[in-house]
Amino acid sequence: MDLIINLTLNGLATGMLIFLLAAGLTLIFGLMDVLNFAHGGLFAWGAYSGLWIYSQTGSFIIGIICAILTGFLLGIITEKWIIKPVYGNHVQQILITLGLMLVLSEMLKVIWGPNQITASPPDYLKGSWELGGVIIIKYRVFIILVGFLIFTGVQFLLKKTKIGLVVRAGVMNKEMVQALGINIQRVFMFVFMIGAGMAALGGVLLGPYSGVIHAGMGMEFAILAFIVVVIGGMGNFKGSVLAAILVGLSGSFMAYYVPDLSLAVNMLLMAIVLIIRPQGLFGAKG
């Protein structure tokens, strides 16, 4: 029982981190038809910048805020200078975002060195609780809570605000949104910024969770996020959270029982989805 609960919590926490990455990917894809292969780079930048500030100031909260701001900033730069110039050309876009990924991860090595960096949670999130004989690690619960909070927040933004309404309308018909007098470029930038901020947040949360960060972590997590985006349906925000939890849980349980197959199982899941429901388990663009 103890084991099951812990594997579940572990899977949920990993799932939430993947969700933070995948949510931006799927939103950006849904609205702009851009698959941002540099998204993992934003994730890694969030981790490095946030944990660096955390180590300098000693405050994890300031670190997190700083990571999100880094994400916002890089998101704006990416949208304005990398994506916008090649907007409308799919092949060019895919190629250019991968190039950016390359530059972003190498820049990390230039600034913070090529070696991995260790990280640990702040004191108040260290350790664990014991509930009826079950040991629950605090930091995992923290990640799950933050993930849930962000999910609810974005869901509120999408469903209850005018900008969210415009985003949803834009996913369905970009031309019409513009013909109704809305500057879609500004909406693009907004969504890109939010997506990048979420990715960066995911990165900084991952640090103390896995204990170390390295420049390759962006690509590693991006692959999981791509799997999630396919399973959840490209452009489907709600689908992305469900798929992320699914991938997180399957990863966590497989890693315990058959560790060598954990990535393979997720790949298999993706292959099956591609065969039977290429629009994703939860439908595209919902």
Binding site: K162, L165, V166, R168, A169, M172, N173, E175, M176, V177, Q178, A179, L180, G181, I182, N183, I184, K285, G286
Partner: protein, 236 residues
């Protein structure tokens, strides 16, 4: 200054490598309904898309209320007071009727509320399906929603692309009636293949053929000109 609300002067438009519009010129007077006629593929839809900026003109000028708008982005053109009802109606299928209207509303003021009331009285169906997703509406209701959405802001000009397309004759009549009522409130450029509808609503007409405006005049005249109708519209 003359009283032309909209003026196109030798407009040319390219889409990709195709030279679609090769010289479209016409004037729209305030309060009138101008109908663009012509065969399929003549460039009528592209003309409307060029006005709203979705397929920007590569040559020539589009003047709205005395201001050149041909190189402005679509959303700025729309904000200047042009509403657009595309051929496929452009309904946001996953949004409710209410949300479809809310996306369109630019100002949250009394005037807009008044216009909203007016248009909903014209199309009571929309009020009935207020919370229903736009994708589930019938073809006629989608058309009404699209027109209402274009009208709700203080737009001085509406561009309406083939409102009768794919609708049952009885629904066409309904849509036609409503456009006639809107005539009193706003200026309209209408693309229409249904000659009965075009000739009932239209004040003046322009015929577009092979990307050029080839003929124009008062609608009344065209009704009697059998040869013109046969030549350009394939009807007799």
């Amino acid at each position: 200054m003359n009283n032309d609300l909209l003026k196109l002067d030798k407009v040319e438009t390219h889409i990709g490598q195709y030279h679609i519009l090769q010289g479209v010129s016409f004037e729209v007077k305030k309060g009138e309904v101008t109908v663009l006629l012509g065969r399929n593929g003549a460039g009528k839809t592209t003309t409307l898309r060029t006005i709203i900026g979705l397929n920007p003109a590569s040559k020539g000028s589009v003047t709205f209320k005395g201001e050149a708008i041909q190189s402005l982005p679509t959303y700025t053109i729309a904000k200047k007071g042009i509403g657009y009802v595309p051929e496929d109606q452009g309904i946001f299928a996953g949004l409710t009727v209410e949300e479809n209207m809310r996306v369109a509303i630019q100002k949250d003021d009394e005037e807009t509320a008044k216009r909203m009331d007016w248009i909903l009285n014209l199309f009571p169906d929309l009020k009935r399906f207020w919370k229903k997703p736009g994708g589930l509406l019938s073809g006629g209701q989608k058309q009404m929603l699209s027109i209402a959405r274009a009208y709700v802001n203080e737009n001085e000009l509406l561009l309406i692309d083939e409102p009768s397309k794919g609708l049952a004759p009885i629904v066409v009549e309904k849509v036609m009636d409503s456009i006639i009522q809107m005539k009193a409130e706003t200026t309209i450029v209408l693309v229409e293949q249904n000659f009965m509808m075009a000739s009932t609503i239209g004040d003046q007409f322009y015929i577009i053929d092979d990307g050029r405006t080839v003929s124009h005049g008062a609608m009344k005249k065209l009704k009697e000109d059998e040869e013109m109708k046969r030549k350009y519209l394939g009807i007799a």
